[in-house]
């Protein structure tokens, strides 16, 4: 952003409002307009209207019809928000517990905020002086309004161990890293989301053919992508190709379904590229002018003839050809890639290959094609990068092994952090700060191993909305955090960004504070120069300026939801590079089908390729004889977001138990029936689930929910996670780049619980 003039308030395009202010009165209730981009909830940040009564209590939430993002629509989770915000399960006060009492639910002691902050400051200062600041790891969970504050306090404190417990950072980050490294940005399907007047905008047109790749967006709250934009564009006539091991409801609307074996996405993409290149269906002019490495790609795809790919993916070769031809000849086309791309050791090569499909077809930054995201704030959502010293940057765990960790979202390697805790090599992490991340329930592979390792860490604290298994098992201090209606904030988001404020609507529950507030109060004690603000609102304003926008928080509230001016074909107009030259923000200025950066700076394969998952019928045939089923993990349901929304109530009513989907033929073969409780087991571990027999999954393949716990259960038993956590079957083993890990294709066996055996 440096060197460019800051965007002024008047440059931001606003939408018409009935009520100019963000708050107004409706009968006895106060209505607050805002955005749901922090816990509890997803990556969407939908426009909401929050209703509070005269006592300041949240009583109702509706979708904001004026917000172009969701246009008044809202899913079950935010509709039911008051039940979650006002839940009896909320943490209300800071609590501490003696180090040797970890896991003991009766040992928590309520303390004041002053004492809590003193404990954090004293502990972190001691650790810094004794062991060095790099020995403190700062963890975020799912990407919401938290990353920026977390990185700022991590860096300002002197650490660079910004952490995320998912192995291989396998959520959004592989796709984004591939996008930024090879195309200078993150590209999304053009559903008109950049225009305040949406589908009515005269410049927009529908994509003719869309590929929905590894995603069930109407359920899964994709990354900054409102799932029902899919139904919007299908109604407007787009043709649909679905790539998914499961027949989702959207797949039943598709013209072609490629029901692939889990995690063979990269092979399929290379096979489709083979067809598009060998049948000469690509856009020659675009390839000549704007891509780099096409001839190398042509050579690479010869290694992936369609018949071989069909064998890898377990799909009909003719359907692969038909899909490739349809996409290449019936443009403009767009591809919505989902999390399944990330959750493979070849996540980056898969994202690189899938991107090459729309790139060589020339569907780049044109109406109805793939559009680089508008970033209203910093694209990597981090803040405080100026505080990272050279010494700290070198101390980031895993950076020697995985140079790609030095670029973009600069996370430490999850597996290397774990190994450092276990072995003390190169140094032992001494403290961890979990900011709304439930690592033992949701994210970590091998959760029992992780628990054992973290039990040896000197000091662990968390900000949380609720008591979680992770806090109960591992923490010495827990700080009560706020849900989004209780606090102010700013929305950055991971898709197309807009100017959007999170607005406080209701009174805080108990003594809870927002994550930014907690960070500011502790940050100003640890490094006053990095936190010079008196209020969080001043900090938000400074972050807008850091992102290139000359706005105060009050300005942001006034312009929300605000849009930046948008134009297509930015690469032709010199708008993609800070130097104003045409082209893309890559070393060659082109879309890099062959990446010198990957090869030279990151020491990884410069081109897309496919490799088998860690365990599969092909990579481990002997093991597969013992565990003859393929297991997908992390199937989403509409009522729950990751490990949230498990508390008793309306959402839990919709989905009371963890489920594993199984084909009728496979169910019969293994003697299990709909509703049976079963063990899923492999050489790493086992977990319980409840059988759901469905015809929409192929024989021999299972699909299980993730992140289950029973908040109403026994805290001494960590709410059942030891038995319920499907991640028990996962191993740490990230891709060669350090990014991506096999969460979507495991192997296992299935058997019923023994008679009399109780399920968790």
């Amino acid at each position: 952003m440096s060197g460019r003039p800051l965007t002024k308030k008047e440059d931001i395009i606003q939408v018409p409002h009935v009520h100019k202010e963000h708050q107004w009165q409706e009968g006895d209730l106060t209505v607050t307009r805002g955005s749901g981009w922090s816990g509890p909830g997803c990556h969407d940040g939908c426009g909401v209207l929050m209703y509070t009564d005269k006592d300041g209590k949240l009583v109702k939430v509706e979708g904001d019809p004026e917000n172009p993002y969701n246009q008044g629509r809202l899913c079950v989770r935010c509709l039911n928000l008051p039940e979650v915000v006002n839940s009896e399960y909320r943490l209300k006060y800071p609590m501490k517990r003696a180090r040797d009492q970890r896991g003991n639910p009766d040992a928590w002691e309520r303390i004041s905020w002053d004492e809590a902050i003193d404990i954090v400051v004293t502990k972190l200062t001691e650790i810094k002086e004794t062991y060095g600041p790099e020995t403190v790891c700062f963890y975020q969970g799912t990407g919401r309004d938290i990353s920026a504050y977390l990185t700022r306090i991590c860096y300002a404190y002197g650490s660079s161990n910004y952490c995320y417990a998912l192995d291989g950072q396998s959520c959004w980050i592989p796709r984004m890293a591939a996008g930024f490294a090879t195309a200078g940005g993150f590209y999304v399907m053009d559903c008109s989301q950049q225009f305040p007047d949406r589908y009515e905008n005269p410049e927009w047109r529908r994509p003719e053919t869309v590929i929905l790749w590894g995603n069930n967006p109407v359920v899964a709250n994709a990354d900054g992508f409102y799932g029902h934009w899919f139904t919007d564009i299908l109604k407007r006539g787009s043709k649909l190709i679905v790539v998914d091991p499961r027949i989702t409801w959207l797949a039943t609307k598709a013209d072609i379904v490629l029901q692939i074996r889990p995690e063979t996405d990269a092979a399929l993409a290379l096979g489709m590229l083979n067809v598009i290149i060998n049948e000469d269906l690509y856009d020659h002019d675009f390839v000549d002018r704007w891509t780099y490495g096409f001839e190398a790609l042509r050579e690479r795809v010869q290694e992936y003839p369609v018949d071989k790919v069909a064998e890898i993916c377990w799909v009909d070769p003719e359907k692969i050809r038909a899909a490739a031809r349809m996409f290449a000849t019936n443009g403009p086309g767009a591809i919505q890639m989902g999390l399944a791309i990330d959750m493979s050791r070849v996540g980056i090569p898969a994202a690189h290959a899938v991107s090459a499909i729309y790139q060589i077809c020339g569907y780049v930054d044109i109406p109805g094609g793939m559009t680089p995201v508008v970033t209203f704030l910093l694209p990597d959502q981090s803040s405080g990068n100026e505080w990272v010293t050279e010494k700290a940057a070198k101390a980031r765990l895993g950076i020697d092994k995985y140079p790609l960790l030095s670029f973009g979202v600069q996370l430490a390697s999850t597996e290397e952090v774990l190994k450092a805790i276990e072995t003390g090599i190169p140094y032992k992490p001494r403290a961890c700060w979990f900011m709304q991340t439930n690592i033992l329930t949701c994210t970590s592979a091998e959760p029992q191993r992780v628990k054992k390792a973290y039990e040896t860490v000197d000091f662990i604290l968390a900000n949380e909305l609720f008591m979680t298994p992770s806090v109960q098992a591992l923490c010495d201090l827990v700080l009560p955090a706020q849900t989004y209606p209780e606090r102010n904030g700013i929305v950055a988001g991971c898709g197309m960004q807009r100017a959007e404020a999170i607005n406080k609507a209701c009174d805080a529950i108990g003594e809870s504070k927002s994550d930014p507030e907690i960070v500011l109060e502790i940050g100003r004690r640890l490094n006053p120069a990095a936190f010079p603000w008196d209020t969080v609102e001043e900090m938000f304003g400074a972050m807008c300026v850091e992102g290139g926008r000359d706005l105060t928080f009050k300005d942001l509230q006034e312009v929300s939801p605000g849009f930046l001016p948008f134009t297509y074909k930015k690469h032709e107009k010199g708008l993609m590079r800070p130097d104003g030259q045409p082209g893309f923000m890559t070393a060659t200025g082109r879309l890099e089908l062959y990446s010198n950066f990957f090869e030279q700076a990151c020491r990884i394969n410069p081109m897309p390729y496919y490799e088998e998952p860690t365990f599969s019928p092909i990579s481990t045939p002997e093991e597969f004889e013992k565990y003859p089923l393929i297991l997908i993990t992390g199937a989403r349901n509409a009522a729950m977001f990751h490990s949230e929304h498990r508390h008793p109530g309306r959402l839990r009513d919709m989905n009371p138990d963890p489920r594993v989907e199984i084909n009728p033929e496979t169910a019969e073969k293994y003697g299990v029936k709909d509703g049976d409780w079963v063990w899923l087991e492999n050489s790493i571990g086992k977990a319980q689930s409840k059988v759901k027999v469905v015809p929409t999954i192929k024989p021999g393949i299972l699909s299980a929910d993730h992140a289950w716990w029973r908040p109403e259960g026994d805290p001494n038993d960590l709410y059942g996670i030891e038995k319920l956590n499907i991640n028990n079957l996962l191993v740490h083993h990230p891709g060669d780049s350090g990014f991506g890990a096999d969460y979507k294709a495991l192997i296992c066996k299935i058997y019923k619980l023994e008679e009399g055996e109780q399920h968790a």
Partner: protein, 112 residues
């Protein structure tokens, strides 16, 4: 003039936002509601590999009052307002009948 809701069930994704909106609006206890989504399928049609039937259908129960209180404030019934697939249209029955004829895979509920 009788009112109704036109449902373009071809695009009902089964997300159940209508059910939740209704349940919280009217504070219905578990198991009761003014609208419920029922499902036909999914099953594979015997001819044609990619030919599946999976129909989601919102059904109005006797507990639906078309959100009388909301209407008094000039608002839409909450299910119509929040439907994520935007497949519900509230209005005068005779006007909706014209829309019904314009596209297949729709149903028109006459509610009051």
């Amino acid at each position: 003039m009788p009112k109704g809701i036109l449902v373009d069930y071809e695009w009902c994704s089964g997300c159940r936002a209508c059910e939740m909106a209704c349940r919280v609006e009217h504070d219905f206890p578990k198991g009761e509601n003014g609208i419920m989504v029922v499902q036909a399928g999914p099953y594979q049609v015997s001819e044609g590999e990619d030919n599946w039937v999976w129909i989601n259908m919102p059904v109005f129960t006797d507990q639906c009052n078309l959100c009388a209180e909301r209407q008094g404030k000039g608002k839409l019934p909450t299910c119509v307002h929040h439907c994520q697939a935007a497949i519900m249209k509230y209005g005068e029955l005779d006007e909706l009948q014209a829309d019904l004829a314009a596209k297949p895979k729709q149903v028109l509920y006459s509610l009051r």
